[in-house]
């Protein structure tokens, strides 16, 4: 075995409690020089909490941390950065109101005569991003760029900060295959330079592709650390969820719905957001939407739901023209929408899990007809159980839940309204394997109940699994549609690529 001196970072018996939760229970963790170490576990297992304790974002309750054999005690993330630990935290944690360059060099801007040398900083920023094949206007505010680009910027920043250790908490959640490949190239290069890299993800393929060792947490406790190559997929899942997963996503996609045609959108669109498109959705049908990052998938969803009012075209339900100009109007037509950006558009952070779940239902009923507390409790408990939302109790503020569990609570919010047309934008992003399978099953059971669903996902395998039809987007326009037997991962990729070659729109 390796001697301890090989460990660049080791954490011993780390403890961390939150009111009502023991998030970390005497967790040990070792990171070697020059290894990629996957940190796995279900939603709420304590992965992010462990990271935050290591980097001083949280004060740990107990345990010690050694960097290069000497004990360290980072008081805040600034300390950790100085020690050579660069981190990408879960959810993009950059400042939207600063420029790209400022985000990259915050706190270490180059200076001349005590003043920031903006020209030099921008030059350095362009140089740094060039490694990531990004050619951005670095003097623009970060808010102007898509989530994916922001994620890459966050990674670039962390990598640049990491002299010894790089920590990546679900960095690939909003990246597509191309960008993931690029990230992995960089990770391998850093690894070769002798850095220790901690990598958190819910994509098991990526674990096998990049990691040398794997540590699994469950309910705040260490389950074990293994060499990744010694670990087969089934064992890994069992380690994570503590039981065998009945069946992973099956690949035989459902037959095209033969339900009646219910929703007809003609020439529907909004200038500057999404080009006018036609779309028909049947009862009992799942329409998957595929496309590269920034292709306009989210915009399509927002226009359908009235979050952005359509400025052209018509919408019909069962042959009757309807008004979908606002979320309320859409909800009146029994629409539901789980947005992609759950932090800003999904959760209402300070409200409890219960209140978050009943929110849409209550809004639809109007304020004069309050849902009784008993009924609220019943609904909340029902969905907490049905979707396996991990929370100490239903009164916990939702912002204190782990990311994946927040996602499930938002889903519950819409299910509680008993929708007939449900739009899910990246419903499985950041969700663990167990829950992932559950959500896929849920989508299927909803379809079987006769709902119409629109599902946006960057995971093509997943789309293939549950879609009865797949729409492919590019440059904010609908460019192709696949159905029946033609829905295969290969065909979707082809369609995106073909469209790509199709030239300017």
């Amino acid at each position: 075995m390796h001697s301890t001196s090989d460990n660049i970072l080791s954490a011993v018996r780390i403890e961390k409690g939150f009111p009502g939760t023991k998030a970390l229970d005497k967790v040990d963790f070792q990171l070697r020089r020059g290894e990629v170490h996957a940190l796995l576990g279900e939603n709420g297992a304590g992965k992010s909490t462990l990271i935050k304790c290591l980097t001083g974002a949280y004060r740990r309750d107990g345990g010690s941390i050694l960097l290069d054999g000497t004990e360290i005690d980072p008081r805040d993330t600034f300390d950790a950065q100085r020690l050579g630990i660069g981190t990408v935290y879960q959810e993009v944690n950059l400042l939207p109101n600063l420029t790209v360059a400022e985000n990259l060099f915050l706190g270490r801007q180059p200076r001349r005569f005590g003043m920031i040398d903006a020209r030099e900083m921008n030059r350095m920023a362009r140089e740094l991003l060039a490694e990531y094949e990004l050619d951005l206007d670095v003097t623009r505010d970060l808010a102007g760029y898509s989530v994916a680009i922001q994620q890459v910027v966050a990674i670039a920043r962390a990598v640049d900060l990491s002299g010894k250790v790089l920590i990546l908490d679900e960095p690939t959640a909003s990246l597509d295959a191309h960008e993931v490949a690029m990230l992995f190239r960089i990770v391998r290069r850093l690894k070769a330079r002798g850095l220790g890299i901690i990598f958190i993800t819910h994509f098991l393929e990526q674990v096998y592709e990049i990691s040398d060792r794997t540590t699994v947490l469950r309910n705040g406790q260490l389950v074990g650390t293994r060499e990744t190559t010694d670990l087969d997929r089934r064992d890994l899942i069992t380690m994570m969820i503590g039981r065998e997963l009945a069946d992973e996503i099956h690949t035989n996609h459902p037959s095209a719905g033969d339900g009646q045609l219910r929703y007809r959108f003609r020439n529907y669109g909004r200038r500057g957001h999404i080009d006018p498109f036609d779309l028909d959705v049947r009862a009992g049908e799942v329409v998957g939407i595929a496309g590269l990052l920034g292709s306009g998938r989210t915009e399509t969803a927002e226009v359908l739901f009235g979050a952005n009012r359509a400025d052209s075209g018509t919408a019909e339900i069962d042959g009757r023209a309807v008004d979908l100009s606002s979320p309320r109007a859409a909800i009146r037509q029994k629409f539901g929408f789980c947005p992609e950006d759950r932090k800003t558009a999904g959760i209402v952070g300070d409200l409890s899990v219960r209140e978050n779940i009943v929110l849409a239902l209550q809004a639809r009923r109007g304020w004069t007809r309050p849902i009784s507390r008993t009924e609220q409790n019943r609904l909340a408990d029902h969905y907490i159980r049905a979707l396996d939302i991990r929370t100490a109790d239903r009164e916990k503020p939702i912002k204190l839940l782990s990311g994946g569990n927040q996602q499930k609570a938002i889903l519950a919010r819409w299910l509680a309204t008993e929708p007939e047309f449900l739009i899910l934008d990246e419903p499985t992003r950041g969700i663990d394997v167990g829950a992932h399978a559950e959500i896929v099953r849920l989508i299927e059971s909803l379809r079987e109940k006769g709902l119409s669903l629109i599902v946006i996902s960057s995971e093509i395998e997943e789309l293939v699994a549950y879609s009865t039809r797949v729409v492919v987007l590019r440059d904010r326009a609908h460019v192709a549609e696949l159905d029946g037997e033609r829905i295969t991962a290969h065909n979707i990729v082809e369609a995106i690529a073909a469209a790509n070659e199709g030239g300017a729109s």
Binding site: G17, F18, P19, K52, A57, Y58, R59, D61, P96, F305, A307, P327, R328, I331, F337, P339, T344, A345, G346, I347, V348, G349, D350, L351, E355, L359, A360, Q362, A363, R364, R365, G366, W367, T368, R369, P370, I371, K399, L400, R413
Partner: protein, 341 residues
């Protein structure tokens, strides 16, 4: 049931303690403080004075709480008080009946609220600036009505609202008690409270969940306007005249202070009307205590600042964490911190 009562009082505990401390402190400096007697058929004493004098700020704080819960702020309440007092006085002196006067005055308050609400909810102007417009212009409007003088009236009905009594309690107390209970019931027995909190915490997410955000936002400012109208009527009735120049001057700050002392965050979200009412009473108790203490007036502000800082430090999250989790001194990290955006 008892559990709910317990959590309810648990929420109010810091305010109740602060109030108790202040009352004890004053009664040590001024022994007659706790005396209560019946005089002219109504309760009489310093404690009653606090509840009575606190009426305008209590009423303003009720409306302000709801506005602040939506992540807004209403700086115009003082000016709206002045407008409504002026309107009431002008109407009653020009021979309108009491009922007409009151209805018209409340309508004016509501109108002011609608104006603020539209600026905030529809025109999307930042609340502080949106309400600053009416704060500045409103006092002008009030003065326009009274022409800068104190508009005195002698209508016994209107005066009764300011200095009459009902069941032994001065009318202002009766009004804020009834109004406060009604509003608290309204927001908590319907879904209003939760929806308002949702808007205050995350307006975008709430809108996407189908909450009728603009209407509720406007409603919050309307409530605030209505409260200011009540406060304005009481203030005018109390002195039997509308003093457009001074009625409600700087009271918006007291009302905001009351809400914060009541533990509602200025960042919006969770609110408690009862706690804000207690906050307003705490502030009035401080004011009355200062008056009774007999210190020269130069010291008024310093004493007030010191007491407020003291109460707020007691309530500050840091202090409370240190207090309740003595075992885990630095445990909580900063999970409660919310993104500014």
């Amino acid at each position: 049931m008892t559990a709910t009562v317990k959590t309810y009082f648990g929420r109010l505990l810091p305010q109740l303690i602060a109030l108790a401390v202040i009352v004890v402190a004053i009664s040590m400096v001024f022994p007659g403080f706790l005396n209560l007697q019946i005089q002219n058929g109504r309760l009489y004493g310093s404690l009653i004075d606090i509840l009575n004098r606190g009426a305008p700020v209590v009423l303003l704080a009720i409306g302000m709480t709801v506005v602040i819960a939506t992540k807004g702020i209403d700086l115009s309440v003082g000016a709206v008080m002045a407008i409504c007092g002026a309107v009431a006085a002008a109407l009653i002196t020009s021979g309108h009946s009491l009922a007409e006067t009151l209805l018209a005055t409340l309508a004016v308050g509501i109108l002011c609220g609608v104006w603020n609400g539209i600026l905030v909810a529809i025109l999307d102007i930042q609340p502080i600036i949106a309400t600053l417009v009416l704060m500045v212009a409103g006092r002008g409007i009030a003065q326009l009505i009274t022409e800068g003088a104190i508009l005195t009236f002698n209508h016994p009905g209107l005066i009764f609202i300011g200095s009459g009594s009902f069941a032994g309690l001065p009318m202002p107390i009766v009004i804020w008690l009834v109004f406060g209970v009604l509003i608290a019931l309204l927001v908590r027995q319907t879904a209003l409270g939760m929806l308002i909190e949702a808007i205050g915490i995350n307006r975008q997410a709430s809108t996407l969940a189908g909450v009728l955000t603009p209407v509720l936002l406007i409603a919050a400012y309307v409530l605030s306007g209505l409260c200011a109208a009540f406060a304005g009527i009481i203030a005018a009735a109390d002195i039997r005249g509308a003093d457009a120049n001074n009625a409600g001057l700087w009271l918006e700050l007291d009302a905001i202070l009351a809400v914060v002392v009541g533990g509602t965050s200025l960042l919006g979200g969770r609110f408690s009307i009862a706690a804000s009412v207690l906050g307003a009473i705490i502030i009035q108790a401080i004011n009355t205590g200062i008056l009774l203490s007999g210190f020269p007036p130069e010291f008024n502000l310093i004493i007030k600042a010191a007491i407020i800082v003291f109460i707020l430090v007691l309530q500050s999250p840091r202090f409370r964490t240190a207090f309740t989790f003595v075992r885990l001194p630095r445990a909580a990290g900063k999970p409660t911190e919310r993104e500014a955006k």
